[in-house]
Amino acid sequence: MQYVLLIYGEESNWSDLPPDELRTMYAEYMALASDLRARNKLLGTNQLHPVATATTVSVRDGEAIVTDGPFAETKEVLGGYFVVDADSLDDAIEWAQRIPAARHGRVEIRPAIDHTGDRS
């Protein structure tokens, strides 16, 4: 099953880190990605630019509305994600626990809908 692990946290949790702690944290992320890859379970992962770089688009009555900022102003913001292949929710939870941001922020686990086999 595919799961998307959405990483939420306050940006200061990583932007305020001293360089050596930042390095350690990145090393943990790399190790996690590497372990997932080794088991053929990594389907995608990205760290996102800060929320200040976000742009929100919506289309209403055929008109595109483009605005600066995330879709909602929240204290904890989306910082990155992993897309993993896991046997069960418990497996996804185990991977999510290893995400460094989970220690200060939260990781939301969403199962992805399997559209393979849908006829177009």
Binding site: D90, A92, P111
Partner: protein, 360 residues
């Protein structure tokens, strides 16, 4: 939405859990339940349990109890909200009908039905596994299962007492202890529920008022059930893996003695406080100390407890100790506070009675 497992287990609340639940499941599957199982597509799709229950020949029943256990753990998965865990366990493991569960928890039937639908959908869509958790997750998951069963019992204990819920919780506790015989806390919980249930007829008076433990008419206690509780406690202690439910059961066992050994009770509460620190445990310990060493000592401990200002029993206990020390006005004021915080009429009436007993 048909729940085939519910059908298969619906006799258990009335006949009691059979000695070999697995064999019973297979036997039932061979009866008319088979048709209902086949019709229950949603549940069958997300759990192989039913398919296996129908296919496995009667001789190979050793895996069936495991599959029932798998269902228990799935129902109590932490990814499900507590009220969903309880509803699902009662429905799929306990075999209670939706209207029964709704009535027990005083929610509209439609609400309960939706809760069950959402929970089953989550199990399917989020991939909650149908299995006994691996070793490293087992202690924490077992705690959730035990806590869910205890929640069900407490919902039934009230007051008012709802016998079918209490009985269901005890059946579930017995099931768990039977399926996981090496888990001391499973036996511990089973024992604790038996001891508490044994007091059900003495707990509320004819007028519907709450009767505290020391005031209870012990002839109304179910002594056969107390003996069962003692046997379950023995089984737990033999495994030499102490835990909070066993401690609570041991305390309950001591309460059931003709002469309560308050010293021991106080010691057990102290140990319980180490495992599961909480002001309520401290309060119970203080009350035991008061019986063992006098009201003065008990009151000293009670006055050190923080965080219970909103809890009516805290003020009631303080009031009792003040009354015993003949500090009447202080007792009166503490009872008044208890009364203002009492959550139900039964409990309020009990405080009223205590207030009335004070010298004017």
């Amino acid at each position: 939405m048909q729940d085939a497992f519910l059908r298969a287990a619906e006799r258990w609340p009335h006949d009691g859990v059979p000695a070999n639940p697995g064999a019973w499941i297979v036997a039932t599957a061979k009866n008319s339940a088979i048709d209902r199982i086949r019709r229950a597509q949603t549940l069958a799709r997300k759990t192989e349990l039913l398919a296996r229950a129908v296919e496995v020949p009667e001789t190979e029943t050793s895996t069936i109890p495991d599959e029932r256990l798998e269902l228990v753990f799935a129902c109590c998965h932490p990814a499900l909200a507590a009220d969903a865990q309880v509803a699902l366990t009662l429905s799929l493991v306990g075999g209670l009908a939706t209207p029964e569960i709704a009535r027990a928890f005083l929610v509209p039937e439609a609400t309960l039905a939706q809760r069950l639908v959402r929970a089953k959908r989550k199990i399917r869509d989020a991939g909650i596994p149908l299995r006994i958790p691996p070793e490293h997750l087992l202690p924490e998951r077992l705690r959730t299962v035990l806590a869910t069963i205890y929640l069900i019992f407490n919902a039934g204990y009230g007051p008012p007492v709802r016998r079918d819920l209490c009985a269901e919780a005890i059946r579930l506790a017995l099931l768990l202890a039977t399926l996981m015989p090496d888990e001391a806390e499973a036996h511990g919980l089973h024992a604790l529920l038996l001891f508490q249930d044994a007091r059900r007829d003495a707990r509320v008076s004819g007028d519907g008022e709450l009767v505290l433990l020391d005031d209870q008419d012990r002839s109304l206690w179910d002594h056969a059930e107390i003996e069962q509780g003692r046997a379950a406690l023995e089984r737990a202690l033999a495994l030499r893996m102490p835990g909070p439910y066993q401690l609570q059961a041991a305390i309950a066992s001591l309460y059931a003695d003709d002469e309560v050994d308050w010293q021991q009770v106080a010691l057990l509460y102290a140990r319980l406080a180490e495992l599961t620190p909480s002001p309520v445990v401290e309060l119970n310990r203080a009350v035991a100390v008061a019986f063992a060493a006098g009201a003065e000592s008990g009151l000293a401990l009670v006055d050190e407890i923080e965080g219970l200002d909103g809890y009516y029993l805290f003020h009631a206990a303080r009031a009792d100790l003040l009354r015993r020390l003949e500090r009447v006005e202080a007792a009166r004021s503490a009872y008044a506070q208890a009364r203002s915080l009492a959550p139900t009429d039964v409990e309020r009436a009990f405080i009223e009675r205590r207030l009335a007993e004070l010298p004017q």
